[in-house]
Symmetry: C2
Subunit: 195 residues, 2 copies
């Protein structure tokens, strides 16, 4: 089913494509940094985690002679899972990365129902599920277990907040150290929480 989300994520703010002064002047989005980090982890044999491809509904494909098949009509689909998964020390690892321009809280509208359900299922199957969160006004991302998001998500129905305060994220999560190699060394935070 085609839907109207240009990047498959209705509520995620568009990552800053221009060089950012708040994030090491590299102009990298959180996603780009995580992709480079995951490649580093794979090369070093630390863990095996990939970003899933963006789901696309393909409607029409041309097959020109002697050149690559060309998709000429397709639509973005809503992902049914989180974006990243893989294996670390035999355990199943699953996470979602979120950037927000909000300086003091992570709006829950950054998530959609499918992602919430998926994270619940990962926990039910004894997998490791977490979120990496980056606030636009600072360089350091945080890692929190998915339970924090699941708790806040459920509390909305009984009049709870529509966002998770940054101080709650800091109190319940781990600060991720950033550097050059790897850029976002989140596996240390995984070690601290789960191993």
């Amino acid at each position: 089913m085609a839907i109207h989300y240009p990047n498959g994520k209705k509520y995620t703010l568009t990552p800053n494509k221009t060089p950012s002064t708040t994030y090491g002047n590299r102009g990298m989005t959180l996603e780009e940094d995580l992709n480079v980090t995951n490649a580093f982890y794979r090369d070093r044999g630390i863990c095996l985690i990939h970003k899933k491809p963006t789901p696309v509904q393909i409607v029409r494909v041309d097959y020109p002679k002697r050149s690559a098949a060309r998709i000429t009509e397709a639509y973005f689909k809503k992902p049914s899972t989180t974006d990243y998964n893989g294996v670390y020390q035999g355990r199943y690892i699953d996470f979602e990365a979120k950037e927000t321009r909000n300086p003091s809280a992570l709006p829950l509208q950054n998530f959609h129902e499918h992602q919430i359900q998926h994270m619940e299922q990962v926990k039910a199957h004894n997998g490791i599920a977490f979120i990496i969160i980056k606030f636009h006004n600072e360089g350091t991302p945080y890692l929190v277990d998915a339970d924090l998001i699941l708790d806040y998500w459920k509390a909305q129905d009984s009049g709870g907040r529509k966002s998770i305060p940054k101080k709650i994220i800091i109190a319940n999560g781990q600060t991720i150290s950033i550097g050059l190699h790897p850029r976002i060394d989140y596996i240390k935070a995984v070690d601290a929480i789960y191993f």
Copy 2:
């Protein structure tokens, strides 16, 4: 990089789209059957396994007013991993499904280098990696540990066979029971081999 593989898999034979008399007359491909099976497993809380989206390089997108963003130029990319992964009893599960029209052996050209490397890495991280193989001339698929494919793959360099005989697959693998719900009950074979 755009490449000339209409379905992202150069060597996989096109699954039979017409009703098949050899496979329960349902006209379903192995992939379709696995998707239905995985949905069944998820609904029952047995395991949480998804097929990864087909990787696509998006070149041009139109954003018409008041309707869905439309991809007007894109190309198939070679997948960097296997097609299926997820979690079962906390363990990381990773597999590839292959159909072949060859009645007596699985040609190794059904795999590409990236998939082989990925399966090796999964094993190195203590994940569970296997292949589900369906020969076109019979209904029953087989499940074999990835090591069998990795062994044959490596042996090619020293003059080994270019395919894995079906009798070797049967001797080293598990026969998967097929039915209506679930269609391809591969988790029983996983239990038998890994748990």
